[in-house]
């Protein structure tokens, strides 16, 4: 073998190794973060952590029951507002999205997917908080919904498009009207995929903090009133992590572990749901 050929093979092998090393280095932080969360958070998690609200600063103990419930309520509100709009827009893109309007909606959805969540928070503040002079969980839910909609629209579109054309043709040939074909055949068949998209969307907004800073604001007390300021796990972590007390830092790690558990469960559930249906995608 000539020296040149050896050099080429060698450089190919070296670059392959380098690419593998880079890939490994990219995955490492996830493992570190998970390890740290479990190492520093798990010991603080007990029954009280889930059932109590915070004690005054300086004392030990207390929990984040209010933040867990608050996260649930605000994410629930976001789903109520965001799911119909996002899924509807996605079905529109898949069924009628061939024209100019489809192109615009698709492009806007992709662009909005990259809009900073803090900007959405400011917008929600000017629209939903300033006019009523009152922070509220409702405004927080609406802000999260605005983040969910563009994502849902694109994943729903993709999922409906995966449905084979022959199914639609069969339904239409049997005399089904278009709208029933769309709802009962196309959307019905793509349902597992749409649910996955929704789960992914929920996982993403459940950890959001920035758009809640001046909409839901945070609250140290337990509340289920959506017209009042409300705490979420993410806001609680922010307050505890940036605060001066050791005890708060301990609770921040615990709350972060709970939040990660929630988000990862949703993400893995989403993955599992599509796996069942379409195999590895």
């Amino acid at each position: 073998m000539s020296a040149r050929a050896i050099r080429r093979r060698l450089s190919s092998a070296v670059m392959t190794g380098l690419v593998f090393a880079l890939c490994a280095a990219a995955v490492l932080p996830l493992l570190f973060i998970l390890a740290d969360l479990i190492h520093k958070g798990a010991s603080s998690i007990d029954w009280n952590f889930f059932t109590h609200t915070p004690v005054p600063a300086g004392q030990t103990g207390g929990g984040v029951a209010h933040a867990i419930v608050g996260t649930g309520i605000i994410v629930g509100l976001a789903c109520l507002i965001g799911l119909p709009i996002g899924i509807g827009a996605g079905v529109f893109l898949a069924e009628y999205g061939g024209g100019r309007l489809g192109w615009i909606v698709r492009f806007v959805a992709d662009v909005m997917n990259g809009t900073p969540s803090i900007v959405v928070g400011i917008f929600a503040w000017t629209w939903l908080v300033r006019p009523v002079h009152h922070f509220s969980a409702l405004a927080g839910g609406a802000a999260l919904a605005m983040l969910m909609v563009p994502m849902l629209a694109r994943t729903t579109e993709e999922m409906v498009r995966l449905v084979p054309h022959s199914l639609r043709e069969a339904a239409l040939a049997l005399g089904y009207p278009r709208w029933r074909t769309s709802l009962k055949v196309m959307v019905r068949t793509a349902l597992a995929g749409i649910v996955t998209g929704a789960l992914v969307g929920v996982a993403r907004v459940a950890g959001e903090t920035a758009p809640l800073l001046f909409t839901a604001l945070g609250n140290l007390n337990f509340t289920t009133n959506v017209a009042q300021p409300m705490q979420t796990l993410s806001l609680q972590i922010f307050v505890y992590a940036t605060g001066p007390f050791e005890e708060w830092h301990r609770l921040a790690w615990a709350a972060a572990l709970v939040l990660m558990g929630l988000v990862l469960t949703l993400a893995i559930a989403a993955r599992w749901a599509t796996r069942q249906r379409y195999g590895a995608s």
Binding site: S12, R178, W179, T209
Partner: protein, 329 residues
């Protein structure tokens, strides 16, 4: 995608049968509702832009373009300039890109070209999970793990290596441009990797086969046939990552030090537009202060829109019409 099949027209002699009429009404109704829901998206975008412009109005009228170049931020004297934040936003994002792009391309190339089949799905999934970690958790980890690590392990050799440049001067307290750049890099790797991977998957197999058939080694095939083919898409993927980094808020707020200051040294605190909004928006007491902050939001909005729009057009050129990146959480 337009329908190619339409329902057969009802065969009648005197106009459509009642059933067909009802059917059309149902179709029109269905389409109308879906169109209305889809219109929400462009409407929302336009409303956000309009609302920000209106909110920023007083500040724009008062300061004009000087707002962009001034580095004073004085709520007492009511003089505002966003230069340090714009500087900090750009520097932290570029630093993040410098670190993240090689890693992300490594992931994408490894997963599409070199990895054994059984490894591809699990590793891709792990990288996607990185995108699922909430920003505030990255911030927490950054404050209590990354900063001590930088202080003890990374900064001393960095100083030894680059001590003669202005980029590592000054005392390192932890909260700094460097810390936020590193955390941003970790956060945007999954986005760049996921989109690049989709782009590389869209490169036709014939490209690789042709290069290999001409006697190229595997790396040469990737470097000379696959990457150039997907170049526009990969650049788009990097720009998507840039868009993320520019607007990322919580982790940066917790790590950058939040000081209205322009410093060449990466070890010094700085500020970004998003961090300023997170910190000061609820404290803004006067209407001009508020308006100045909304203008910061408007600038951030316009920059990210421009970056994202350009990125999308580039990605669409390669992976046509697919929702690239939508699989990254």
């Amino acid at each position: 995608m337009p329908l190619t099949i339409t329902p057969p027209p009802a065969v009648t002699t005197s106009g459509p049968a009642p059933a067909a009429k009802r059917r059309n009404r149902g179709d029109r109704f269905y389409r109308g509702i879906l169109t209305a829901l889809a219109l929400c998206l462009p409407l929302l975008l336009v409303t956000i832009a309009a609302e920000l412009v209106v909110g920023a109005g007083p500040s724009i009228r008062r300061f004009g373009f000087a707002f962009l170049g001034r580095s004073t931020w004085d709520p007492v004297a009511e003089v505002y300039g966003a230069a340090p934040m714009i500087f900090g936003t750009i520097v932290s994002s570029l630093l993040a890109l410098v670190i993240a792009v090689p890693l992300a391309l490594g992931v994408a190339v490894f997963l599409t070209e070199f990895a054994p089949k059984w490894m591809r799905q699990p590793v891709a999934f792990l990288v996607e999970l990185l995108a699922a970690v909430p920003s505030v958790v990255y911030g927490l980890w950054g404050v209590f793990v990354l900063i001590p690590f930088l202080r003890q392990v990374a900064v001393p050799p960095l100083r030894a290596l680059l001590g003669w440049t202005p980029f590592v001067s000054g005392v390192f307290y932890g909260n700094s441009m460097l810390a936020s750049g590193v955390i941003l890099a970790i956060m945007i790797v999954p986005y760049i990797a996921a989109v690049s991977r989709e782009v590389l998957l869209a490169v036709p197999g014939s490209q690789r086969e042709a290069a290999l058939g001409l006697g190229a080694t595997r790396w040469e095939a990737v470097w000379s046939a696959v990457l150039p083919y997907g170049r526009a898409g990969v650049i788009g993927a990097v720009m998507l990552g840039l868009g993320r980094a520019l607007g990322e808020t919580m982790a940066v707020t917790m790590l950058i030090g939040n000081r209205h200051d322009i410093s060449l040294s990466l070890l010094q605190p700085g500020y970004t537009m998003a961090a300023a909004l997170a910190n000061e928006f609820s404290e803004a007491t006067t209407s001009l202060y508020l308006s100045a902050l909304v203008e910061v939001g408007l600038i951030l909005f316009l920059i990210t829109i421009a970056v994202n729009a350009a990125a999308r057009l580039l990605v669409w050129r390669v992976a046509r019409g697919t929702a690239a990146g939508s699989k990254a959480l």
